[in-house]
Point group: C2
Chain length 100, copies 2
DNA sequence: ACAATAAATCGAGATTTGTAGATATGATTA
DNA sequence: TAATCATATCTACAAATCTCGATTTATTGT
């Protein structure tokens, strides 16, 4: 777990928002069309719509969140779904007590 | 408490180090010369020495950590002492459970 | 095989952050 | 009241991050 890299990811409002929205996908995103539920998270296009930023920017953000292990990515056909990695998020929060 | 501003402050290794060192001043810094103990923290010059960065950079870092309330500043004569604001640090860690 | 679609990657300009040296401020001492 | 010292602020440039449009890649449907 790279503490500083996670901090960098979390120093941007949009990325924090995305992480927060993914806590309750059914509340924050429209119903999925190509999969029956939110078990693997939310597809990139829905996240992009919600932020209003460009496709490349959002893809970039999601990739960096994935690289530091805050998100889990699953590919279904053409679509990539992202969900929170709750274990890593908890690890991070726990680690703060020692790191700070 | 401004969550995002604190995250930005914590997205730099030197600033995280400073916060960490201030947990145990007597272990990480030389004895104070102008005050008897570490009750008000550590003076800027000792922090600067330890990082090896310039005086202006360290002063800038400490000021920004102070502005988001992570540090408490106390002036004694010519010297400014900085110590951790444990309450705010705990608030921040607690808030993560909701914010993330 | 070809066209279409979703997402990832590339390249570049705009903005922010990092960092230092110079200068200003405030306190102390001669 | 000068001179000196510690810290803060100002100015500027270098490096990193933000963000987009264009291109590439992977997958699907015709």
């Amino acid at each position: 777990m790279n503490f500083l890299e996670i901090n960098k990811v979390l120093s941007n409002q949009v990325r924090v928002d995305i992480l927060h929205w993914l806590k309750k996908p059914e509340k924050n995103f429209p119903p999925q069309v190509n999969v029956p539920d939110f078990n693997d998270g939310v597809c990139v296009c829905h996240i992009q719509d919600k932020t209003g930023l460009s496709q490349s920017t959002i893809s970039h953000y999601l990739t960096m969140m994935h690289k530091v292990n805050l998100l889990i990515a699953t590919r279904h056909g053409k679509w990539t779904y992202y969900k929170r990695n709750e274990n890593e998020i908890l690890n991070y929060i726990d680690s703060l007590k020692n790191e700070l």
